[in-house]
């Protein structure tokens, strides 16, 4: 029969000042761990959410990002007729896009951010079906109007409904705000492709990319084959989702590795704190432990009991850590994505599995921090410990 758990619970409570040290150490580590990972997750999720399964992205062969790609109008005309493309009321659902960058001040620091400006075709919402206008309206083809993503609206200065902004050599009126489901599009400003190209002195018959809406996700194969084997075209075709997933790798790797290092270092510190707490617990309770062993509770019972106590402390620390950073969930921040050179607003994304991971991490720290002290407790010389002051 094991030593009753109530003994451990009450003992921890009685020595709470000492236990607090271990609890806080573990809470801090778990907090940082969850925060950093949720930052990386949020960044990645934003980009991954930017694609649809049934959209295909076309860029010039060899181009790694839209920014470095170029697709001519003649190529667009050929692509439009390829098999697999869904059709709308006015023809194939295709949006040839010009991707540009403009310096717009961040609301938080008032220094410039490289904001992505996307010239789109007026029927773009039929191709990117997950995007909805939530305030105002869509821009009208041929007019100097733009719509902005919901994150762009809150992160960059001047992108408010009704406001006029200067892009290229033209003034544009912000007529609508759209919700792109937390994807990278939420950080963008969209307008008529032809007008935007003109405003930036770009040739009118040249775009950066073409996005098409397929009949179904499976139509990609057929479409891709047709387009890549056409001798008149020199393009790469990929599923929209894949393109965006690749755009996030560097930053996600950076944040994950940095966060991982920091969390690891803190974990070692937290384990030290737990060890300290548990060792002093064993030292303080020498007589109690010896008494229980004298009464007949064997070594394994004692080890198990102290291990359990360490787990109690670390579990509590883990929960505390998760709760503390939970407030960050959904908090938006922005950073520059080196791969695309443009600014991207994203949110911390704390998911249940991340928190469970944090608590498991805490328990592991607890086991490591509790094992040796527990073994020491079991090995105490009973006879002497019974009588010590």
């Amino acid at each position: 029969m094991a030593i009753p758990i109530i003994y451990n619970i009450r003992s921890v409570r009685a020595r709470w000042t000492s236990s607090i040290v271990a609890v806080l150490g573990i809470a801090g580590t778990v907090g940082v761990f969850v925060a950093m990972l949720s930052l990386a997750r949020g960044f990645q999720a934003t980009l991954v959410a930017s694609g649809s399964e049934d959209n295909a992205l076309i860029v010039r062969a060899g181009a790694t990002t839209e920014m470095t790609s170029g697709v001519g109008l003649d190529a667009v005309k050929i692509i439009q007729d390829a098999p697999g493309i869904a059709r709308g009321a006015d023809g194939p659902l295709v949006t040839p896009e010009a991707v540009l960058m403009a310096p717009i001040p961040l609301i938080s620091t008032s220094t410039d951010a490289n904001v992505e400006i996307r010239g789109v075709s007026p029927n773009v919402l039929q191709i990117r079906k997950q995007i909805k206008i939530v305030q105002g309206r869509m821009f009208q083809a041929g007019l100097a109007e733009v719509v902005v993503g919901k994150n762009a609206n809150t992160t960059y200065r001047g992108l408010t409904l009704g406001n006029t902004i200067h892009l290229g050599s033209v003034n544009w009126k912000v007529v609508g705000i759209f919700d792109a489901g937390g994807s990278s599009f939420d950080s963008e400003v969209w307008g008529d492709a032809h007008l935007l190209s003109g405003a930036y002195n770009r040739p009118d018959n040249s775009f950066q990319s073409v996005t098409v809406h397929l009949n179904s996700p499976d139509a990609l194969g057929q479409f891709k084959d047709a387009v890549t084997t056409d001798p008149r075209l020199n393009v790469d075709v990929m599923r929209e989702i894949s393109y965006y997933a690749k755009q996030s790798t560097n930053m996600t790797t950076l944040i994950t590795r940095l966060g991982g290092f920091v969390a690891m270092i803190m974990a070692i510190g937290a384990i030290f704190g737990a060890l300290n707490t548990m060792y002093s617990a064993v030292a303080d309770r020498g007589r109690e432990i010896a008494t229980m062993r004298a009464l007949g509770f064997g070594g394994p019972s004692v080890v198990f009991s102290f291990l359990l106590e360490a787990l109690l402390i670390s579990f509590f620390g883990g929960v505390l850590g998760c709760l503390a950073v939970l407030r960050l969930n959904g908090l938006t921040t922005s950073t520059i994505n080196f791969q695309t050179f443009s600014n991207l607003a994203f949110a911390f994304k704390i998911t249940p599995d991340l928190m469970i991971g944090g608590i498991v991490f805490a328990l592991i720290m607890g086991v490591i921090g509790g094992l040796f002290p527990a073994i020491r407790a079991a090995r105490l010389p009973v006879a002497t410990a019974l009588r010590e002051l």
Binding site: M1, P4, R10, R287, T291, M292, L295, G296, A383
Partner: protein, 247 residues
């Protein structure tokens, strides 16, 4: 019948033959117990006295299975404990020995009830059965009304009584007391000794007790002196004869 000459008939409850215990201290061997013999029958009440360092505590530890001798044998109710291994010895101890220490050794975060219940957790008794035993033990020592109190809420004498309740709750074969009244004032000490006498007289318990206090020792049936590593009888007719000479 209590004997120290090793000539017992072999029917006694506790039988010690040729017990030796040697410690290494700073490179030297110190022989604390030398070929010690002892026979104790059921229902006996023995007090051990002797100067400090004479080995009284060592003897108690060995009898209680908290330590192993360098040589010799200890047999309790037919079980030879000197050759028992760690976990077997631990189990034996749980079933056969009740400990009463000078410093009570109660778990401060557990109530009186929970402290007394501890030894029963090692048995297969159900929760309600355990409750019955604990309540009985606490009534015997007169603390039934203080079951839910924590040690810090009890006086010294009350704490010791809880310890005694814990010592008897699993109905052990014998009780080992190490200076049971050491930390108490005269009045409380008297109450504790009266209780222990009652355990012997009314409940037929076997008690082995170490003490330095001749008044306390006088309560036992026999007092044995530990001198030069062996036990020597002191005559009951001469209660004043105490090795070490402190009254």
């Amino acid at each position: 019948m209590i004997r120290v000459d090793g000539q017992g008939s072999g029917t006694s409850l506790i039988q010690v033959r040729g017990l030796e215990k040697t410690y290494k201290r700073g490179g030297e061997d110190i022989r604390v117990l030398q070929r010690l013999n002892l026979d104790v029958d059921k229902g006996d009440f023995v007090a051990f006295m002797g100067p400090s360092g004479s080995g009284k505590t060592t003897l108690l530890n060995l009898l209680g299975g908290l330590d192993v001798p360098s040589a010799g044998s200890i047999t309790v109710d037919g079980d030879e404990i000197t050759h028992m291994s760690g976990s077997k010895l631990t189990n034996w101890r749980a079933r056969h020995v009740g400990f009463i220490f000078q410093m009570y050794n109660l778990i401060p975060v557990l109530t009186a009830f929970q402290n007394v219940e501890l030894p029963l957790l090692l048995t297969k008794l159900s929760s309600s059965e355990r409750k019955k035993h604990v309540e009985t033990a606490l009534s015997v020592v007169g603390l039934a009304d203080r079951m839910r109190h924590y040690p810090r809420q009890l006086s010294g004498g009350q704490e010791q009584r809880v310890t005694i309740a814990r010592a008897i709750v699993s109905d052990p074969t014998f009780l080992l007391c190490d200076e049971p009244t050491g930390d108490l004032d005269r009045k409380s000490a008297d109450e504790i000794m009266a209780l222990i006498e009652e355990l012997v007289g009314k409940y037929g318990k076997t008690v082995l007790m170490v003490t330095h206090d001749p008044v306390v020792a006088a309560r036992a049936h026999t007092t044995l002196h530990l001198e030069k590593g062996v036990l020597v009888e002191a005559s009951k007719a001469e209660p004043g004869v105490v090795a070490g000479g402190v009254r």
